[in-house]
Homo-oligomer: 548 residues x 2
């Protein structure tokens, strides 16, 4: 049997448009001789709809869209994710389901049993866990259908049931074999995720000696970057077909031949995947919000240079405006480097000096500031003048302002709220400084887009004379290593010190992370590329006093 | 038996300080002849610790604190909430528990069974539901101990078990009676919550013909305002003892006499409760963050006037600085009214005109803006100049900046990001405009603190000549009514139109709510006083296209 694995990029709540694309893709699949087409989890609404799921009208309109979809599909089997109302009480009012539609009728239902409730996932907020599933028999092929997390019990120890094992037990009890494992997913990318998925898939194929079809959503949805990378894996663990990463795709897998389309022969390197994820996330955020163009401040430093290169890749050079906003403390080299980045990226470029405005602010504040020495207040004033000018350009010309801060500075609050933190999207907010450098080298792989001097010079905020990041912060290698241990791996201060880091440095970093929570709560959305990003998946009180 | 109901105001993660206060209060209870002292849910860590619960060091340090607490308590029974590690897998690694300590030993454990997973609650993210509880027999008194949500199954239909009913069944099976229902809580305030609690308590007391002791956390924790209001209710539903609202308290209830301390004879009116909640939340946020002083912009309008009055109440007049920042579009009356509010509140007051800075920005932008007409961009520039000046004062003098926007304008985005939305705390962000007026009248109940003209004049943003809110927005009575239906009661556009509101107005408001999600995501924390506040308990995608 030929089966189409179809990864689409939905817009949350665009029921009509999402369904139109599903019908078109299913027609393509039918035209290519497929008997079955498989779409991702919650394909009709897009994933995750979050609290829209609590709106009665949303549930009712979605139901009408599902019914229209089923009527409009071509006469092949179509397996797709959608939620279903659950009128019984007690319990949550919805199931996260996969339906098989055929000739206008729903002939099979599987409800997700393992509801992730960690990091960015809150599925028990909306969904009731499904009852044990039933095998799907379709045109002589017996399938064990699972929804995303249903096959993750081996790596997440939250769960008391094993949906896939139960289906295989069911088959064994009936004296028949399972021909295919199907997993319908909306699984967001992070830099380590592909390896985790690979190991889950490999283990399952080996354990059950059964091929596996994995169909994943693709596209950026706020912070979450769905990578697609749908794949058909043979019983021996080898790849039978593979879809592209970070783009819509349709691949056909022939279960009899054990092979199909392979649109991405090799797994890409981690830095390349992060690059592609960010480009997709940037493009989708702007386009889905209705923006064609972006503006950003170009300081001459590496963060804004990398952000500019990503924006040009995502939107086209003509749609990106870089602005240098030199203050009295900005070096001539910085403005040159900013101009050079813009020239090499091919984007538009403007220079707007802020010295006169800075003077005007100091004059306005003089009656209250009197003879007090300049301090952080004056540094922040400069950053906020820049924020005001960039937002004025954003408002006047309908360009979305991109924020250029990296994860390392966001962690320790080395950034100005309402200043350089202003913007609609924080493109590299989940990229640690060391990975920013790697991204720069990756962007330069076919030619020097980002000037070498931008990569090699010492980072500086240039908000006071002679300022360098390394005077205010630990060296980035140390900072990033500690952040990795503390934020992503969950080690406490004592454990990190035991690994050989200086206690004073660890305490200082842990303190800075704690006291800057309020700042990050007001940050624009960042694109998630690590296993633990600031934002929705990391929930800390602003007010708390834990020092460990 | 005499029992102390003790509501304390913890700081999240301040284990040592929280325990010290618990020991002191337990000693007071012992000195007053109590055999038992009862503290709120998660009393050792404070509620809610959020993702600190995922830190291994936090769990270990908390465990040590619990052990130290138990050793340090006086020789009476002490019932208190804390979390417990749960080494078994699968399942979540913690229980949300209540322990009874006596003479240095834990003699009873009850684990929370109903874990709320809606609005601001994510308890299944951290906790495993507890097993069925056991009756607590203490000095001849049999108690059915429950943890917060465990008695809410009658109003929340998420749950399949009824912990309290199971305990009464257990008693019946053993042929004995239950003498007391105990509920150990951390239940946040909203303006309708007391009535809901009252009806739950009344129903339970009537159903089981048993008295109920309810002990609730008190204090502000980020957005959440815990009201205390601990209470002892007799079997006949009448109040036997009641603690204060919005302040720490210890009340003693005598189970033999059926009466005890009554520190708050009458339930207060809703507007008074909202007022007291906001004052407590403002004070706690600043003090727990280490701020003594606040600064805010005074426009002469009602929102900033009410915010100033609340701040003065919370912090003392000397600790509040009001600043008028007139632009070319600010009327003389507005500056007069701002000065008058400051004078009547007794707070410090400054005037910082922004006209020169506004001109300087227009000059700086002239090369790019050319001859384009003034529009929203210029309005926002003014608001952002004010934001920059106020933040400069905040930074220089270590005053926390208070944001003064109300819920109605936050809902429809009638506010400037990085402008008037700047600040560390959004005091009235969850107060609809109509309720702001009620608060003003309440504040004026003993004398005109807020000048009558500020209450009676038409609201205006004064960002362009002759601007009035009512030219840009529907009348606030209409806006607030639609917001109440759409946000708090979950009605969709069609249902709201069916209630008699104009379709164009409803669609415009629903659209504004949708497209301003990005703005609210960058807003400072607001204090929650309604059943559905913007912020952590309302989770909508920035990017979504649902129109219903």
């Amino acid at each position: 049997m030929k089966i189409a694995l179809i990864q689409l990029n939905p817009v949350i709540g665009s029921f009509a448009e999402n369904c139109r694309k599903m019908i078109e893709a299913a027609e393509d699949a039918a035209a290519r001789g497929c008997s079955l087409a498989i779409f991702p989890e919650l394909a009709v609404s897009g994933y995750p709809p979050l609290d829209l799921l609590e709106r009665r009208s949303f549930v009712a309109d979605h139901q009408r869209a599902v019914e229209g979809l089923i009527r409009g599909l071509p006469p092949i089997g179509v397996l797709f994710g959608c939620f279903e109302a659950r009128p019984e009480r007690p319990g949550k009012p919805l199931y996260n389901s996969v339906l098989l539609a055929r000739d206008g009728v729903v002939v099979h239902r599987t409800r997700k049993q393992l509801l992730p409730t960690y990091d960015v996932f809150d599925e028990t907020r909306y969904f009731e866990p499904g009852p044990p599933g039933e095998l799907l028999h379709f045109e002589g092929v017996t399938m064990a259908v699972t929804v995303c997390e249903d096959i993750w019990h081996s790596v997440v120890d939250d769960y008391r049931v094993q949906p896939l094992a139960a289906l295989f037990d069911q088959a064994a009890a009936a004296g028949r074999s399972v021909d295919l494992i199907v997993n319908v997913s909306a699984s967001p990318f992070d830099r380590g995720k592909e390896a985790v998925r690979q190991s889950i898939f490999a283990r399952l194929c080996a354990q059950y000696q059964t091929p596996l079809l994995y169909v994943n959503q693709v596209g950026g949805q706020d912070s979450l970057l769905f990578d697609g990378n749908s794949v058909a894996i043979r019983a021996d663990g080898t790849v039978g077909a593979r879809a592209r990463g970070f783009a819509e795709d349709l691949i056909v897998f022939d279960t009899d031949l054990g092979r199909g389309d392979n649109h991405r022969p090799e797994p890409v390197a981690e830095v390349a995947a992060v690059h592609d994820a960010l480009v997709m996330g940037l493009r989708d955020y702007l386009h889905k919000c209705g923006f064609a163009k972006a503006v950003l401040g170009l300081s001459g430093g590496i963060d804004s240079a990398v952000t500019a290169a990503l924006a040009v890749q995502a939107l086209g050079a003509d749609n990106v405006l870089g602005v240098a906003l030199p203050s009295p403390y900005t070096s001539a080299e910085s403005v040159e480097d900013a101009a050079e980045v813009a020239r090499r990226c091919g984007c538009r470029f403007e220079i707007m000096p802020i010295s006169d405005l800075f003077t005007a602010f100091k004059t306005a504040l003089q009656p209250l500031f009197g003879g007090l020495p300049e301090d952080l207040a004056e540094q922040n004033i400069q950053a906020r003048i820049r924020g005001n000018l960039l937002m004025a350009l954003s408002n006047k010309f309908n360009h979305l302002l991109l924020t250029t801060g990296n994860k390392s500075e966001m962690a320790v609050g080395y950034c100005t709220l309402y200043g350089d933190m202003s913007g609609g999207l924080a493109v590299i907010a989940d990229v640690p400084k060391q990975l920013v450098y790697e991204l720069a080298r990756h962007i330069n792989r076919n030619g020097e887009i980002i000037p070498l001097r931008t990569i090699t010079k010492a980072p500086t905020a240039e908000l006071k004379p002679g300022q360098r990041d390394q005077d205010d912060l630990p060296p980035y290698e140390i900072l990033d290593a500690i952040l990795q241990l503390y934020l992503e791996e969950g080690y406490g201060r004592e454990e990190i010190i035991a690994k050989g880091f200086a206690a004073a440095v660890v305490d200082d970093i842990v303190r800075r992370i704690r006291i800057n929570e309020y700042k990050r709560k007001q940050a624009p959305l960042g694109l998630k590329v690590t296993s633990k990003a600031f934002g929705f998946g990391r929930r800390l009180p602003n007010v708390q006093n834990y020092r460990g």
